[in-house]
């Protein structure tokens, strides 16, 4: 009581700001507008990439504003914080009032209904008494439970439904808070990373996505087999990994995972996300001498050097790579070696698996090609833990229920008044109101009126 007389204190002023829909609209607008930025500027790339793309000045400005990871920047989080405070305070501000309406004992004022714009008035044959039960039955069937008030020469019937639909909007708002809380819990207590496990090997180490830190799992995973299949047109059909989970050196279970069917254990999810090949310990190479046309096939181990016949030099197999950039093209998987001949500068030899004649282009005295090599797949697994997911899912369910209630249900009341007029008939008034979708309610009144005409 005393608070109202006093000039508004700081608390009230802040309360007023945070309980206003103007603020909601402003924050939603800012969120919508700023969200666009992150779809135009690629997010979470290496600094080099940005530096080349935007130049030094813009790079500095953008870095200061966290534009390269904007959805996790302080200012974007601040907007979300303001939105959640806005939602919370709005609800505290309005909920008591709405709750009062919801809990209030229904009271009906026939005068109000008579004055309503959508009221339908007409005459039917027969007295009000004759029609009473029929009309009640009709309203029960088409609208809902009703109370009947008797009066001289007639009756008034009231019905009301959907009180609790007024709560729908608060359900939606709390669902958003749940989503944000779930998201926060996930980012504080969860992680996201990847594992690369070659076939036959076991690992328990996850490389975290954002920081590249290593993290040990409580259990380890062995990749027993990786396989992929293709459609006839060459498009990928399925990637799958056969995994075995070990805990304290004891086998726990096996699971075959494919994209869209992960392994879940102890709150940790393991998804099929990529794959690659590793060269085994060596390859069989074919050395073709340009002069004699002779082809020499030799097995060579990784790191090994080989003295070639016909005094063609020494070949060393250095390493294997899954991709190799050559004049702007990716040659794909290849072996890389070195050819030394006497005092000449050593030459790098690239042996792409896909383009076996590639080394001929070097136009050297000997050309090298890969005949065969040991190949092993490794499976690329995405590993995540998110203890906030259940909150998010709960939020999802509440949001859908809340939206449905808030949009398509309304607090409606209906009033039918019948008054006997002389001996021949009675005058009927059908009226009603709703807190939402007035036009729908008007149509409903019309429909009920026309049904009563036929009673």
């Amino acid at each position: 009581m005393s608070r109202k007389k006093k000039p508004k204190g700081l608390f009230d002023k802040i309360w007023d700001i945070f309980s206003s829909v103007r603020l909601s609209v402003l924050v939603l607008l800012l969120l919508a507008a700023t969200s666009i930025i992150g779809t135009v500027i690629p997010q979470n790339q290496l600094p080099d990439f940005y530096f080349h793309k935007y130049g030094e000045v813009l790079f500095r400005v953008f870095t200061t504003l966290n534009m390269f990871d904007m959805y996790h920047s302080w200012w974007f989080r601040f907007l979300i914080l303001v939105l959640s405070m806005n939602i919370t305070i709005c609800s505290f501000d309005r909920l008591p009032h709405v709750w009062k309406i919801v809990r209030k004992k229904p009271s009906f004022d026939v005068e109000k209904f008579r004055r309503n714009k959508d009221t339908q008035t007409f005459k039917i044959k027969g007295s009000a008494q004759e029609k009473e039960n029929l009309v009640i039955a009709l309203v029960r069937k088409t609208f809902g439970h009703c109370v009947v008030e008797q009066k001289d020469g007639g009756f008034i019937l009231f019905s009301e439904k959907g009180r609790y639909s007024r709560m729908g909007v608060y359900v939606v708002h709390s669902s958003i808070l749940l989503l944000l809380m779930g998201g926060m819990l996930g980012s504080l207590r969860g992680f996201e990373g990847s594992m690369m496990i070659p076939e036959g090997e076991t690992s328990s180490q996850v490389i975290l996505r954002n920081t590249n830190e290593a993290r040990q799992l409580d259990f380890s995973i062995r990749c027993d087999d990786f396989d992929m299949s293709h459609y006839d047109n060459g498009a990928p059909k399925e990637y799958r990994s056969d995994l075995t989970v070990f805990e304290n050196d004891k086998e726990i279970f096996k699971k075959r995972i494919i994209v869209n069917d992960p392994l879940r254990y102890k709150g940790i999810n393991v998804f099929q996300s990529s794959f690659g090949t590793l060269a085994g310990n060596g390859a069989t190479l074919a050395f073709t001498s340009k002069d004699s046309g002779m082809v020499y096939e030799r097995k060579i181990a990784m790191g090994e050097s080989l003295e070639l016949p016909e005094n063609l030099g020494t070949f060393t197999l250095n390493h294997h790579s899954n991709s190799y950039g050559y004049m702007g093209h990716d040659l794909g998987e290849c072996f890389i070696g070195k050819l030394t001949h006497g005092e000449q500068e050593p030459q790098e030899v690239i042996l792409p698996i896909r383009f076996n004649g590639f080394d001929k282009m070097r136009k050297g005295a000997v050309s090298v090609a890969v005949v065969d090599y040991e190949k092993r797949y490794y499976t690329g697994l995405q590993v995540t833990k998110d203890p906030g997911v259940w909150l998010v899912y709960l939020g999802f369910i509440l949001m859908i229920i809340g939206c449905w209630v808030a949009f398509f249900m309304s607090h409606q009341s209906l009033c039918v008044e019948c008054q006997t007029m002389g001996d021949t008939g009675c005058r009927v008034m059908v009226s009603g109101s709703a807190n939402k979708n007035r036009m729908g309610m008007a149509l409903k009144i019309k429909r009920i009126a026309s049904l009563i005409k036929d009673v």
Binding site: V21, S24, V25, L28, L29, L31, A32, S35, I36, G38, T39, V40, P42, Q43, Y71, G183, E192, Y231, D232, N233, A235, P236, K237, E238, Y239, I258, V259, N260, P262, N269, F271, S273, Q382, V383, T384, D386, V389, V392, Y393, F396, M399, I400, C403, W404, F407, F408, K436, N437, R438, M439, G440, L443
Partner: protein
């Protein structure tokens, strides 16, 4: 009969339907709208038949999947949802002029789809591993029901603005368009319908993403743009319900919202991201 042939014919039926609806409005003859509605029903059945046949044909290729996996297929389904919602509104509000603009949207979408099909986008393709999930069906269907709601809200908003700008005292061609009140109400109703289904679409997408690669939200451009669209319509709903905005202002926001929908649908393909199957 192949699905492509049926769908090509359906394009014309939608076209004729729009012509009849628009003529009904221009010449003020109720019977023309009736014919338009009948044609729309034929087109809808043709649309469904084409959809199902395409589904069956995909099994013939050896990799059966529901035809909701690329731009062409999504356009075919989008047009279907628009036409169904249009007819439902006509039936519910007993006003055929509502569809004078909106059914044309179904036709335009179909025409665009046919154009794309002519460029080879209509071929049935196998599903890439990431899309092989039961969530595909429910995610795409809910999204497009949402888009359909917004598309019709857009058509009605255009109608509102056209009537406001060109009508002289409620007479003549523009005067015959539905009442301002009805247009206003319909915009709101269809936006709410769209919002519910957009929310469902985003949610099913999230749940799918979480079950397929372990995170329900990654700020991928398509996700972000669907959220931007969601924000715009959330603003619409707040201004409408709490601040009581109506008429021209609300029609403008509905149009801006639909621009966001279109960008989410088409524009995002020009940005880097995961939803690349939407590419032409």
């Amino acid at each position: 009969m192949t699905s492509s042939l049926i769908l090509a014919i359906v394009t014309f039926v939608y076209g004729f339907s729009s012509v009849f609806y628009i003529s009904s409005w221009i010449f003020n003859k109720k019977i023309l709208a009736r014919i338009g509605a009948a044609l729309a029903v034929v087109a809808i059945f043709g649309n469904i038949a084409g959809f199902i046949l395409r589904w069956v044909e995909s099994y013939g290729h050896g990799y059966g999947h529901i035809p909701l996996s690329n731009l062409y297929e999504s356009l075919v389904f989008f047009a279907l949802t628009i036409a169904v919602v249009c007819l439902f509104l006509e039936w519910k509000y007993k006003n055929s002029h509502i569809n004078a603009f909106s059914i044309s949207l179904a036709f335009l979408i179909f025409a665009y789809a046919s154009l794309k099909a002519g460029q080879g986008a209509g071929d049935i393709q196998p599903l890439i591993p990431a899309l092989k999930s039961n969530w595909l069906t429910v995610h795409v269907m809910t999204c497009f029901l949402g888009y359909a709601g917004f598309a019709i809200a857009f058509g009605i908003s255009i109608m509102y603005l056209a009537k406001k700008a060109l009508s002289n005292n409620g007479k003549g061609l523009m005067g015959r368009l539905p009442d301002y009140d009805l247009l206003d109400e319909l915009t709101q109703q269809t936006v709410m319908f769209g919002f519910l289904f957009l929310s469902l679409g985003i949610i099913t997408g999230s749940v799918w993403a979480n079950s397929a690669w372990g995170s329900y939200w990654t700020w991928d451009p398509k996700e972000t743009w669907s959220l931007i669209t969601w924000f715009v319509y959330a603003i619409f709903l707040h201004l409408r319900h709490v601040r009581g905005w109506n008429g021209t202002k609300i029609a403008m926001i509905s149009i801006i919202g639909f621009m966001a929908v279109m960008f989410t649908y088409f524009g995002v393909n020009y940005l880097p991201g995961l939803h690349s199957y939407g590419k032409g």
